[in-house]
C-alpha cells in the first residue's frame, strides 16, 4: 500500500472539482478518505478539502498524483522525515518521535513508508536497502547503536482508523466509550459476530484474562472457547494460570471450593501446592503431558497448541515455571505473539489489559469487559482509545459468549 495526502482548494464544489478529484482517485483503482473539508458558505467563499489517498503501490500512486495535480490537487507534505543515528544501545536520540498506536507512515526519499507494527510510546527506526526503505516501531530498550531513528514530527503522519462503533457498523449502538446500561445480550451477540468475522478474515483472537474469571467459576466456559478454536493466543499472569490449574486439580480457586462456594480446610495453601508441583514437573505443558493437569484453560491451550504468555509481578507466589519474571522479556514475548491479531478480549484484568493495550495497534478491535468501570476508563486514559468497554459481570458475559460461539 502507498498513500499520500492531497489538498484541493478553491471553488471546488461549484466547479465540481472535488467530485472530479474523488472520481479520478476511484477510477485509478485507489481509495480515499476525506480527512477534512471546509465548504464555503456563500458563492464567493472558497472551499478546501484534505484527502488521504490509498493506492495499491507507489507506481499507481505517482501516476494518480500527476493526474490530480492537473486538477489542482497537490500533495501536502513535501518534507522527508529527519533521521538521527542512535549512539547508545537502549537509548533513543534526543527529540525522537514518540509513537501512537495509530497506523503511521514516515516519508523517506519522497515516499510514504508505512511503519510496521504500530505501538504506542516507541521510537521509529528506518532500515534502508539499496532502493528500498522500511520502518518499524522500536521500544526504547531494543534500540541498538547505529539504528536510524526518526526525530521531530516532520515527514511523519498518522491515520485514525474508523471506530468499531462508528456510523453504519454493527456496533453503531455502542456509541459511548463505556457501556453499562446497554442490552447485554445484544452486546455479547455483537462481540461474538465480530469474533466470527475476524476468524473468517483469517485474523487471530487474543484473550487477556484475569484470575477473577476462575474465582467466579467461568473457567469451564473459557476452556470451551479455547477448545472450540475461538482463542488463538492467551496473555495472563501467574494468578490466572495458577487458579485455573488449582481449580482443575483440587477443585478450589484460592482455597474456595468452586462447587460449594465456601472455603475448604487448609485451602489457602492449595494454590502453593499446585505451583510447587508444576515447578517440579518443569512446565505447564509437562504437567499436562504427565496427566497432573487434566482440564481447564491452560490444559486446553497446551492441547490445542494455543500460545500463552504469562507475565510475572512482584507479588507472585512461586511463580509457575512458565511465568516470565523479567518484565521486559515478558513484554517482548507478548509483542512477538501479536502478529495477525484482529480482536482482543480483555476480561477482568486491569494490569494485563493496560500492558497489552500498550502493545496493540489501534486497528485491533478491543473489548474490555469488567464489572469495574474504572478499568475500562483507565485503559482509554492510557491511549488505547480503540477499546470498547463493557461494564458487566464477566462470568455471565463469558458464559453467554460461549453459548453464542460453542452452543451446547
Amino acid at each position: 500500500m502507498a498513500s499520500e495526502r492531497v489538498q484541493v482548494e478553491g471553488h471546488i464544489i461549484d466547479s465540481l472539482t472535488l467530485a472530479k478529484v474523488l472520481d479520478t482517485i476511484l477510477s485509478a483503482g485507489c481509495d480515499y478518505v476525506i480527512e477534512e473539508v471546509t465548504i464555503g458558505r456563500s458563492a464567493d467563499d472558497m472551499s478546501r478539502a484534505l484527502v488521504e489517498i490509498q493506492a495499491p503501490d507507489d507506481v499507481v500512486l505517482e501516476s494518480l498524483l500527476s493526474e490530480l495535480q492537473v486538477h489542482g490537487a497537490n500533495r501536502t507534505s513535501t518534507v522527508d522525515a529527519t533521521l538521527v543515528t542512535a549512539d547508545t544501545d537502549g537509548v533513543l536520540p534526543d527529540g525522537f518521535y514518540s509513537t501512537t498506536n495509530l497506523p503511521t507512515a514516515v516519508r523517506i526519499d519522497g515516499h510514504w513508508v508505512p511503519v510496521a507494527t504500530p505501538e504506542m510510546d516507541c521510537g521509529v527506526a528506518v532500515d534502508r536497502g539499496d532502493d528500498t526503505a522500511s520502518a518499524r516501531t522500536v521500544p526504547m530498550h531494543r534500540v541498538e547503536a547505529g539504528d536510524r531513528i526518526v526525530v521531530g514530527h516532520e515527514g511523519v503522519r498518522v491515520t485514525v482508523p474508523a471506530r468499531v462503533g462508528g456510523p453504519g457498523s454493527q456496533f453503531e449502538f455502542m456509541n459511548s466509550d463505556v457501556s453499562s446500561e446497554k442490552p447485554k445480550a445484544r452486546l455479547v451477540a455483537d462481540v461474538a459476530a465480530r469474533i466470527r468475522a475476524a476468524k473468517e478474515a483469517g485474523e487471530r483472537v487474543l484473550l487477556v484474562a484475569g484470575p477473577a474469571l476462575i474465582h467466579t467459576g467461568t473457567g469451564p466456559h473459557l476452556a470451551a472457547l479455547v477448545r472450540g478454536g475461538w482463542i488463538d493466543v492467551l496473555f495472563a499472569g501467574n494468578g490466572f494460570a495458577t487458579h485455573d490449574i488449582e481449580s482443575n486439580v483440587l477443585g478450589t480457586s484460592l482455597g474456595v471450593s468452586l462447587e460449594l462456594g465456601s472455603g475448604v480446610e487448609h485451602g489457602h495453601s492449595n494454590h502453593l501446592r499446585v505451583i510447587n508441583e508444576v515447578r517440579r514437573q518443569g512446565s505447564i505443558a509437562a504437567a499436562v503431558e504427565s496427566g497432573y493437569i487434566s482440564g481447564g484453560v491452560m490444559y486446553e491451550c497446551v492441547k490445542a497448541g494455543v500460545p500463552f504468555v504469562l507475565g510475572g509481578s512482584v507479588r507472585d507466589d512461586g511463580p509457575l515455571p512458565d511465568v516470565h519474571t523479567d518484565v521486559v522479556k515478558a513484554a517482548d514475548t507478548m509483542r512477538a505473539n501479536l502478529d495477525g491479531v484482529g480482536v482482543a478480549l480483555m476480561l477482568a484484568t486491569t494490569l494485563h489489559a493496560i500492558a497489552t493495550g500498550n502493545l496493540l495497534s489501534a486497528t485491533v478491535q478491543t473489548f474490555c469487559v469488567d464489572i469495574n468501570q474504572a478499568v475500562v476508563t483507565k485503559l482509554a486514559d492510557r491511549g488505547s482509545h480503540q477499546a470498547l468497554g463493557i461494564v458487566t459481570d464477566v462470568g455471565l458475559f463469558v458464559e453467554e459468549l460461549r453459548q453464542q460461539l460453542v452452543p451446547a
Partner: protein, 293 residues
C-alpha cells in the same frame, strides 16, 4: 436582454510580425505560410468592424520575434484598474509578458502577478459570466490558477477542464453574450465542465461540431452586436432571434495560428471583482460585472 457591461474598449496589436514560426497548437503548421498582406487587411477589417459597432480600439506596438503578440486576449486579465499579467505555458510566448506588462503599466494599471509556478493565459482562458469568472485549464492554464485568481480578484471562479486539443483555450469554447446567454462548445470540455456550464448558462447556444470548428465561439460582443469569424445559418438565426446583430469579420490568416476574432482582442473595460473602474476609462460603468457579492 441585459447587455454585457463590458466589451466596448479593446487592446489589439497590428500583425506586423505575425507568422506561424512554431507549432504550439493543433492548428499551427509552419509549412502553411501566412500571407502578411492578407493578414494585415483582415486585422484592419476587424478593427473597422469593432469601431463601427461602437468599440474603442487601443493599439499595442508589435515586436519582432513575438508573432503571437497579436493575440492580445492572452496578455492577461483586466480587472478594473488592475492587470493580472499572464504566465505563458510555452517558452515561445513567454517573452510577450514583459511587453504586455509595460503597456499596462504605462497606461496607469496596477500590475498584479500570479504566484510563481502557476501558469495562466489571461482572457483567452478566463471569461466573466453571470457573477463568476469561468477559467479553462489543462492545455494552457493550470487549475491552481483558478484559486489564485479568485484570491486576487475576490470573485468566485469556475474551473473547467479543456479536453480537446483543438480547443486549447476557453475562448474557443465559450462566448458570453449577455447576462443569461452564451455560445457554448461543449466538445471542448470534460463531463464535469459540461455540467458546470449547463448550470451556469441559463440560455445556451450549443454549437454543433462543424460550427465549433469555424471558431464561432471566438467572437467579440459589443452590446447587441456580435463580430464573428464565421456564422453558419443556424447560429445566425438563433442570435438574430435573440435580438443580436451579427457581423462576420473573416480572419482566415489568423485561423492558421489557431486564433479568431476574440483572440485578437483584449477587453479593457472588465471589472471582475471588487476593483475600481479602469484608469483610462472614466466612462466605464460603475459597479461590478462579475461579483455577486
Amino acid at each position: 436582454m441585459t447587455q454585457l457591461t463590458w466589451g466596448r474598449r479593446y487592446l489589439m496589436c497590428p500583425p506586423v510580425h505575425f507568422s506561424v514560426l512554431y507549432e504550439i497548437n493543433s492548428w499551427m503548421h509552419t509549412a502553411v505560410p501566412v500571407d502578411p498582406e492578407a493578414a494585415r487587411a483582415q486585422w484592419e477589417g476587424l478593427v473597422a468592424t469593432l469601431e463601427s459597432a461602437g468599440a474603442v480600439v487601443e493599439r499595442l506596438d508589435p515586436v519582432a520575434g513575438l508573432p503571437d503578440l497579436v493575440f492580445t486576449a492572452n496578455a492577461g486579465l483586466v480587472d478594473g484598474s488592475r492587470f493580472v499579467a499572464s504566465a505563458f505555458r510555452h517558452p515561445q510566448r513567454q517573452g510577450e509578458t514583459a511587453i504586455d506588462t509595460a503597456w499596462f503599466a504605462a497606461h496607469g494599471y496596477d500590475i498584479v502577478s500570479l504566484p510563481a509556478g502557476v501558469v495562466h493565459e489571461g482572457a483567452g482562458d478566463a471569461l466573466p459570466f453571470a457573477g463568476v469568472l469561468v477559467s479553462g485549464y489543462r492545455t494552457r492554464s493550470d487549475a491552481a490558477a483558478g484559486t489564485a485568481l479568485s484570491r486576487l480578484i475576490g470573485a468566485p471562479v469556475r474551473t473547467v477542464e479543456l479536453v480537446d486539443p483543438r480547443y486549447y483555450h476557453l475562448d474557443l469554447t465559450f462566448c458570453p453574450l449577455d447576462e443569461r446567454r452564451a455560445i457554448l462548445n461543449p466538445a471542448g470540455w470534460d463531463r464535469y465542465g459540461c455540467t458546470v456550464m449547463e448550470s451556469l448558462v441559463a440560455e445556451p447556444l450549443v454549437l454543433e461540431a462543424e460550427e465549433a470548428e469555424l471558431f464561432c465561439a471566438n467572437s467579440v460582443v459589443i452590446g447587441t452586436t456580435i463580430v464573428m469569424p464565421a456564422c453558419p445559418p443556424r447560429v445566425g438565426r438563433i442570435l438574430e432571434g435573440w435580438g443580436f446583430d451579427v457581423i462576420v469579420a473573416a480572419v482566415p490568416e489568423f485561423l492558421k495560428a489557431g486564433g479568431g476574432c476574440r483572440c485578437l482582442t483584449l477587453a479593457l473595460d472588465v471589472t471582475l471583482g471588487h476593483a475600481g473602474p479602469s484608469p483610462s476609462s472614466p466612462s466605464a460603468p460603475p459597479g461590478s460585472v462579475a461579483a455577486r457579492g
